[in-house]
Symmetry: C2
Subunit: 222 residues, 2 copies
């Protein structure tokens, strides 16, 4: 498989970045072709604006989606975006590594999605969900949390993790046609022992060695 591995943690020594590095190593050893987007290392700029484009459709009124369709037709996405778009289009599986910040992805990753997943290239013209343009590809979240697993159950302190992740897994991934693999959640990683962290890494590596054969989950709606 061609696998795009994304990271959105600011610290290369963090456990999240260790999961990211483990994924690259394990998937490469398994014979896959691995492409990476380490967003902090790339100094990826997440603010969606006219810098997304090297041309202008309407200089007086910036409508992001209209400019996106114009850029699809004229091949005028900014070079940094064009490179990221090609990575997504060429992958069979996309895995995001990130710390859960405010029940969502860090801004650098939200902006990567805001800017890269352009209308007319990744969705639109009646192609959403079951008929989405990314159909046949799979996507997966690998995240770290501050709180413990008990906090993310239905009725728990922070509520069901499936609900927390639904706007991402349903609203981003399934919206454009990705099938979703079960999220890999490493809970409370700042509060566990070195041995437990090593066990979490090994469990992740073991899972990734047979990721080819894993069946998607049903995310469900709101």
């Amino acid at each position: 498989m061609n696998i795009l591995v994304v990271n959105a943690h600011p610290e290369t020594k963090s456990f999240c970045s260790s999961l990211y590095q483990s994924a690259i190593a394990t998937l490469t050893e398994s014979g896959h072709t691995v492409t990476t987007s380490d967003l902090y290392s790339l100094s990826f700029q997440p603010v969606s604006d006219r810098h997304n484009f090297s041309s202008v459709k309407d200089p007086d009124y910036f409508k992001p989606q209209a400019e996106e369709i114009h850029a699809v037709e004229h091949g005028t996405f900014a070079p940094d975006l064009a490179a990221e778009m090609a990575k997504v289009e060429q992958c069979d599986l996309m895995i995001w590594h990130f710390p859960l910040w405010w029940f969502s992805v860090p801004a650098i990753l939200k902006g990567w999605y805001d800017r890269v997943f352009a209308m007319g290239r990744f969705y639109g013209n009646g192609r959403f969900y079951e008929t989405g343009m990314m159909r046949g590809k799979r996507a997966m979240l690998t995240l770290t949390t501050g709180g413990p697993v008990e906090a993310y159950q239905p009725g728990g302190f922070n509520g069901d993790m499936n609900g927390v992740l639904r706007p991402i897994q349903r609203g981003m991934f399934e919206f454009v046609g990705f099938s979703v693999l079960a999220p890999q959640v490493a809970y409370a990683v700042a509060h566990v022992s070195d041995q437990e962290r090593e066990d979490l890494l090994e469990a992740y590596r073991a899972r990734l060695r047979s990721i080819d054969n894993e069946a998607p989950i049903t995310v469900g709606s709101y």
Copy 2:
């Protein structure tokens, strides 16, 4: 009241920005003290990293929350963050204006939250939800969508808007203690007539004239 009015749309002529401008005008006319954060005009930088701080606790390992607590103790948040933090702390009501991008806020607004709502200053040490540090303040979302109202019902094309907004209203606002006012949602604003847009603005202005007396909603968990 002291009211903090935030905007996260890149185009000043957009309907979202018109809602923002209407809020400033109406709330000022009603006698409130209005403070603003127009994030695109501010060129707000949403990537959370060492630029959040003017001092360093651990130069070898960047742990965002540990650095936040250090910055609270030493008064060493970066000036742009310190200014935004003061605005939040001084407000009685905070209103966000934004276009719904990928079932969430634009990256510039996510990063504003990631960076401004620092541990030790806005939450932590057992102060969350009902005992949150922002208790007594209210917060509200004013958003525009591409899809129509039918798409955002339970069982609808995109699913229940309350579920879409829960990670924000529950996971950001209520987590730090804000009471939540009902979201003001302007659906499919690119596809309605000028008269309908004017009606939406007038309904918003009418609501804001008596916002002092509005009771919070129950957001609910996942």
